[in-house]
């Protein structure tokens, strides 16, 4: 076997682990870099894809409870109703960013300092590069959607979609975290920082999301990288900080 074939043997084995989501983050990055310039490995991945996509199809079927369908449909109908009502009220125009978001462009954030995290949070929040926009017309079910194109490292985007008293936090372009680390979300109410219970990790495309059960009184949502199992107080600089309108 020559060197080139030996090299491809190695990448080929990495490709299978990659398809199964089993590579470590640094290996994922290395393989994706290799894939950019290697048609042979890209072909290998394309060929293996149906095998991985077929795995869930082979799972024994379990009938979902009927209440799940009822709950889902009730939620989306209410969401659609709010969207229609909002479109009717606003003439269907693309909404402008709320005033508090527009103010960010002027650099006045109006955020209260957060004890213990003030320096970290404000470093991120005070980035002049914050670009606040709206997603898909600026609303989801009539609720404000914030997009923050900033963070540490730069490029991480976050959307906080309000749903009643709660919200869903969606991150994109998050770097992979080491196997012994997770993402942990925090909410700040004035000086008080509270962890959001669910820990999460980015998928292979760098997307991650979690739900926040109680957004009442929250003025900032943050995400930090923490040891597996989570922590009771943030131990690292937030990778993203999202101010929430009151």
């Amino acid at each position: 076997m020559n060197d080139e074939n030996r090299d491809h043997e190695r990448w080929s084995e990495d490709a299978a682990a990659y398809m199964l989501g089993a590579l470590e983050p640094d290996e994922t990055v290395a393989l994706e870099r290799h894939l950019e310039g290697c048609e042979r490995c890209r072909e290998q991945i394309r060929w293996l894809a149906p095998a991985v996509q077929a795995l869930p199809e082979a799972v024994a079927r379990v009938e979902p409870p009927g209440e799940l369908r009822a709950r889902l449909l009730a939620e989306v109908r209410e969401d659609a109703r709010r969207a229609r009502a909002e479109a009717a009220a606003g003439g269907g125009e693309r909404r402008r960013a709320p005033a508090w978001l527009r103010r960010l462009g002027g650099g006045s954030l109006g955020l209260r300092p957060i004890a213990g995290l003030a320096a970290l949070a404000l470093v991120v929040v005070a980035l002049a590069g914050y670009e606040i926009g709206t997603e898909d017309g600026g609303s989801s079910g009539g609720e404000v959607t914030s997009t923050v194109v900033a963070g540490h490292p730069p490029g991480v985007t976050a959307r906080v979609i309000r749903e009643g008293d709660g919200a869903t936090l969606h991150l994109a372009d998050v770097r992979q975290v080491p196997g012994d680390r997770v993402l942990e979300a925090w909410v700040a109410r004035g000086k008080k920082i509270t962890p959001v219970r669910a820990l999460f990790v980015p998928d292979r495309q760098g997307r991650a999301s979690t739900t926040i059960a109680d957004m009442r009184g929250v003025d900032t949502v943050m995400v930090t990288v923490e040891p597996k199992g989570g922590t009771r107080a943030p131990t690292s600089t937030p990778i993203v900080t999202v101010p929430i309108p009151q």
Partner: protein
Amino acid sequence: MPVRREKAERLADEELMPLIGEKDPEAFGVFYDRHGGVAYSLAYRIVGEKAAAEDVTQEAFISIWRSGARFDRARGSVRSWMLSIVRNRAIDALRSRAGKAPKLTFDDEAILEQRPAEELTEEEAMRHETASEVRGALGTLPGEQSKVIELAYFGGFSHSEIARMLGVPLGTVKGRMRLGLEKIRGELAEGLA
């Protein structure tokens, strides 16, 4: 204006997605009825608890409802995209539950939905065939290969975690993954031939 259910039922998944992106509940209902079963089954297979599987399925479908417009058909089928969302959320849920080990066996003998063949659409029939082929392939895989695939895909473990767990070198784990996937792929290719 939402489409009527009868019309939505005639649309392909790829045609439903833009409607879901426009917040059409009927299109979403049809989408859930097509895929809710496999989504819930996958979630249950990974998290091993019905209540948690329900939460995962609900989160995944709500996420699709809110991001349907961003489906990129260049990345594959809607069903694969949806299942990858379910899988990622289920693995997240699994990882966030400390000390809970995933199930470690394929339900090879389990039976899919018991419905007469004539009630199946062509697409459903193909999926059943695929499921049957994959089960067949998994059944013939050496246990060491199916185990690493299962630990990675359904357990969310990295290859180094699996190597530690099984007490074998990393290269062995990767090799077993490759051989196992190639075998499944080969079986699928034969089925299509």
